[in-house]
Amino acid sequence: MTTGTQGWHADPALLSSYLAGVLDAVTGASVEQHVSRCETCRTAVGGLIEPQLLERTWAGICDAVERPRLPYPLRLARRCGLPEPTLVLLACAASLRGAWLVGAFLSLSFATLAAYASGGTALAPFLLAAPLAPVLGVAAAYGPRQDPLEALIATAPYGRTRLILLRTIAVLVSVLPVTALLGLTVPGPPWIAAAWLGPALALVPVQLALAAFVGPRFAATVLSLVWSGLVLNSLRGSVAPTWPVEVAQQGVYLAVAGAACILIAVRAGSDRQPGVAL
């Protein structure tokens, strides 16, 4: 076989076998070498390939170049079987990016470390940070201010409420396990590892209900101040350091969360614009 552009050309039968992948390794490699240098044979190969296959291949190449790469946590989620369209929606949420998650993990770690270093007497930093992590994550998921695409999201068939709930669930799924693990290492009563979940889960619906009226940032600020006030109050000595997460208080959180859920449901039912309760 010659490789010059003037002399020999591969006949259609040989090219078809090459394209079908049925040539032996040496002949296949020789044809490939030749085709890469011989314009006539390249043109012949082009005529033998199905146009749809070419189109699909080209679309695949465009996709690889143009489609933005998903953030790392979402690539992990894809491996766990999360549907691809959902990942595209979540990629836009700031609090699901690596940087935010690392930040949340670091602040919680320091809070745990502080509790550990004090020998269990300073539970406040952990109790302060742990329930607020999901709330701040939910607030940050909206974007820097409000969602800049608010007007588009509100008029898309997917629905704003559904998008916000999706992001909220994603934040909870990404923040809660880490916080729970850190909670296990906090010195003090063993039930602390689970007890912070009460206020954490209660604050999220309150955040969502409040954000519908005053915006996500203001809502998160108000909740952070209220929760900090509760935790700092428990430091004044009249109550135990675990007071903010004891059974009686958990009941109150549950009631508040229930009220927030009812508020969201009522708004969803009464709002003249279907699908804009949140």
């Binding site: 369209p85 974007g143 588009l152 898309a156 629905g159 998008l163 279907p274």
Partner: protein, 293 residues
């Protein structure tokens, strides 16, 4: 046209923001073709478009979109939204997104779940607005006009039956306007396109029909040529400004373009433009509109 079968049928639609009346009992129907909404700031253009785009609800009157009442049920509003393309007046762009990423995000919100079909559609709409070669560029690095075109591209996803564009020509240069004209006239054959603008030239170039809004009410509704015809015999070129003219200004030739009022001495009647007709339709609001344009 029978309102019940029109793509958009508004009957006595009203909307207030506090004590401000944004729309005062508007009756309009829209069908296939490109309609321009013209009016000074605060005339109610954006409010009208937001109601048609299911972004806000009217306070009173009846709204029917694609034969449905968008407030009847969640299923109805979703069905309308599946056939809607909307470019809001102010659209924020997440700065770290690429043009492709942004359009793809909106495509998912519009339920394009199949990845391959979605990619093709994203590429098609980027091609339609002339941004195919900028697909992987971050939006923060695009020019204002290009960003506006990215916004327009997302409104074209899925060839919607109803396209609502709030000031689509803002930030576009004349060549881009010509491109937009081509895109919209192709779209107008298949879909109902509503666009708002401050610029009479845009309406003259892009639209078959024009609706002039002022103070929340419809002042004119008809063909662009019919609006121009209303000004015939009421516009002059004169050596001095008209005393009781609605508006008059000195042109490049040194003569005065006089719109409305009595003709000044020695005035020559001249062919009215769409802007003249628009100003005459607005009447007393015209000075305000003219000063702001």
């Amino acid at each position: 046209m029978n309102g019940a079968t029109s793509t958009v049928a508004l009957t006595d639609v009203g909307k207030r923001y506090g004590r401000t009346v944004a729309l005062a009992g508007v009756d309009l129907t829209f069908d296939r073709g490109v309609t321009g909404l013209l009016g000074p700031n605060g005339a109610g253009k954006t409010t009208l478009l937001r109601i048609v785009a299911t972004s806000i609800a009217a306070d009173s009157g009846e709204v029917r979109l694609l034969g449905r009442d968008p407030h009847a049920s969640h299923a109805d509003v979703t069905a309308v939204r599946r056939q809607l393309g909307y470019l809001p007046q102010e659209l924020g762009y997440p700065s770290d997104m690429t043009a492709f990423g942004f359009i793809e995000y909106v495509a998912v919100l519009k339920e394009w779940n199949d990845r391959e079909r979605r990619s093709r559609e994203v590429r098609r709409v980027l091609e339609a607005v002339g941004l195919a070669d900028r697909a992987s560029v971050r939006i923060s690095r695009l020019s204002g006009g290009q960003r506006r075109r990215v916004g327009l591209a997302q409104a074209l996803i899925g060839d919607p039956q109803l396209v609502v564009l709030d000031e689509p020509t803002t930030g576009l240069d004349p060549a881009q306007r010509a491109d937009l004209r081509r895109t919209l006239s192709a779209l107008g054959h298949r879909s109902t396109v509503l666009l708002s603008t401050h610029q009479t030239e845009d309406v003259a170039a892009l639209c078959e029909r024009v609706v002039v809004l002022a103070d929340g009410a419809v002042r004119f509704d008809g063909a662009v040529t019919d609006l121009v015809a209303t000004a015939v015999g009421r516009v002059w070129l004169a050596d001095e400004p008209g005393e009781d003219a609605l508006v008059s200004w000195r042109t490049g030739t040194g003569r005065h373009h006089v719109v409305g009022g009595r003709p000044p001495p020695g005035a020559d009647p001249t062919e009215p433009t769409l802007e003249d007709a628009y100003l005459l339709t607005l009447g007393s609001d015209a000075q305000r509109a003219h000063a702001s344009s």
